[in-house]
């Protein structure tokens, strides 16, 4: 070990020995920061692709009512007209009926925390507010997808429970708007009772899907997507659409029907399964599908799909990860959809007196199309002489906040065109050997 002086040395012999530099003598940054952006899976399914559009008419009250002329039912399977020469002609009287469906507008607000200017001045990551704006936008997109999906789930008049022992299709499932408590629409109690009847295998097999397809087309009289229903989506022409998860789709490789009947040149080992299902169904994959957790006593819940690692000593502290309750869910819901079951309400602009703003203040416009924007029109707390909190205007412009207001609506025009399928989640590939 060499003894190194921290002072400069003088009159040192030419070969005085090993004189290493002291490593911590000089200043260095303890850490360097690099801003990174990583790719994440898109969380929202393209539910809007499945829908038609319907305008909202302002100044006509809170409730919209669609009126649909229904074709008369077919009332016979044989037709026996009288012979011309021997009897008078009988006649059929054909009359049409109408049905109605109601729709309302819903609204929701989105906000960021209140940003202080100091963080933008001091912290390493710049343009934090712009980043947050992007996430607000993504959150809204996800929110509207969850709204559409939940509405379809709770409004669907028929439900499929794969391999249920009491009949796989419930043709008169309870309908409603749904709520957080699980007491409206397809209530948690209803789902608990129905899920308990599901037998084996109960996963989303091609056999199950084939049954669902026949039910949707024959019993629920849904029509497939037609050319022109969807722009630039000719692959959907004359097909139904399955909205499901990657997991369920990947599992088709292991489907007994596929294994028995696949083309010999369909390389499911190296190329996997692809293509449309049964020649009639196009699949649209999305992450964070609707999944149901069943507790030991049979009660069900819908756990949040994602969470944040909050253990400060974990290597991935702060990372958005899959919620373990969601990972452990046993049941999932896929949606087999025909064309134009639901319409997105085209809300239109807010009332002109509110949306055009007042005077020169461009910030004062009412916007409800979900466009996030910055505002400084907030109150900030300050402490008075008595130690109480008072609220004063953000007169110094020290704070900013992202706000967004979204008005939306969806109408269940022909809700039977969407069939939710509850199935058991399954992973794993089996062979006949082991």
């Amino acid at each position: 070990m060499a003894a190194v002086s921290s002072l400069p040395a003088i009159n040192v012999s030419a070969c005085s020995g090993w004189t290493p530099q002291q490593l911590n003598l000089y200043n260095a940054l303890p850490v360097f920061f690099q801003e990174r952006e990583v790719a994440y899976r898109k969380k929202y399914g393209n539910w809007k692709m499945m829908f038609g559009k319907q305008p909202w008419e302002p100044n006509k009250g809170p409730l919209g009512r669609g009126i649909v002329s229904e074709p008369p039912p077919t009332l016979r399977q044989f037709a026996f007209p009288n012979a011309l020469a021997t009897a008078c002609a009988k006649k059929d009287i054909i009359q049409t009926r109408e049905r109605t469906f109601d729709f309302v507008l819903k609204h929701h607000k989105f906000e960021s925390p209140t940003f202080q200017w100091y963080a933008s001045f001091n912290d390493f990551i710049e343009k934090k507010i712009v980043k947050n704006l992007d996430f607000v936008l993504q959150w809204q997109e996800e929110f509207s997808s969850q709204f559409y999906r939940g509405f379809m789930f709770h409004q669907a008049p028929a439900m499929m429970f794969a391999d249920s022992s009491t009949g796989v299709i419930d043709f008169a499932a309870p309908i409603g708007d749904g709520n957080d408590a699980g007491t409206s629409g397809k209530s948690n109690a209803y789902l608990q009772a129905k899920i308990a009847t599901m037998g084996s295998p109960g996963n989303l097999s091609l056999r199950t899907l084939f049954y669902a397809l026949d039910t949707l087309e024959e019993d629920l009289k849904a029509v497939p997507y037609q050319s022109g229903t969807l722009k630039d989506d000719s692959f959907l022409n004359d097909k139904f659409m399955l909205m499901t998860s990657s997991e369920a789709y990947n599992n088709f490789i292991n489907d007994p029907f596929l294994k028995e009947n696949r083309r010999l040149d369909l390389d499911i080992v190296q190329e996997g399964f692809k293509g449309n299902l049964l020649g009639r169904i196009t699949t649209c994959l999305h992450s964070n599908p609707l999944r149901i957790l069943v507790a030991g006593d049979g009660s069900i819940s819908f756990p949040a799909p994602e969470a944040i690692e909050e253990n400060p000593s974990a290597a991935n502290y702060g990372q958005t990860v899959v919620n373990c309750d969601y990972r452990n869910t046993q049941y999932e819901v896929a949606f087999l959809c025909g064309a134009k079951g639901y319409n997105i309400i085209d809300v239109g602009p807010p009332p002109a007196e509110f949306s055009s703003g007042s005077g020169a203040d461009r910030m004062s416009h009412l916007q409800w199309n979900g466009k996030p924007r910055l505002t400084d029109r907030i109150n900030v707390p300050c402490t008075d002489d008595l130690g109480g909190t008072q609220w004063e205007q953000n007169a110094y412009d020290e704070f900013l906040k992202i706000i967004s207001y979204m008005v939306m609506g969806v109408a269940a025009e022909t809700s039977r065109n969407v069939l939710p399928i509850v199935f058991k989640r399954a992973r794993g590939i089996t062979t006949s050997i082991v």
């Binding site: 008169a172 084996s200 109960g202 030991g296 006593d297 049979g298 058991k424 089996t430």
Partner: protein
């Protein structure tokens, strides 16, 4: 593929596996006549307490009669509309709803039966219930 042997006590449901599995084969061995039933569950019970819930019911041959309908000639008419009717009655709570057996193996006297090529999927777990004491050999894959 995992193979496990479970000792069966007569008429005592037991949790063999907890979680999601693909059940491949089941063999049942007993010293007397009996039936081995397999259930999708995660607790040692083959019943479940279900709360009351609303579910639909369809009357396929429903006729609605509307009477006293006035027409333009001041006549009073009655109309019969034949159709179906869907109602939403509340299904009473069932504190001991019997879970359905996803499969069963019967044995006429002492001996072994199986293997049953099951290809079954359990989502909650595998519960075994036998009417006779014996053994069950279960081959399964983890499906998580």
């Amino acid at each position: 593929m995992t193979v496990k042997t479970f000792t069966l006590v007569a008429n005592t449901p037991q949790v063999a596996l907890t979680g999601r599995y693909i059940i491949r084969n089941v063999t049942f061995e007993a010293n007397a006549a009996g039936t081995l039933s397999l259930y999708d569950g995660s607790v040692g019970s083959i019943t479940q307490s279900n709360p009351a819930y609303v579910d639909g019911s369809v009357n396929c041959s429903y006729t609605r009669t509307v009477t006293g309908v006035r027409d333009l000639a001041c006549g009073t008419d009655s109309y019969d509309y034949a159709g179906i009717s869907t109602t939403y009655p509340t299904t009473a709570a069932n504190a001991s709803f019997a879970l359905p057996a996803i499969m069963a193996l019967g044995i006429g006297s002492s001996g072994t039966v199986g293997p049953l090529d099951a290809q079954a999927v359990v989502a909650r777990g595998l519960v075994l219930n036998s009417t006779a004491a014996g053994f069950a050999v279960v081959q399964y894959d983890v499906a998580v």
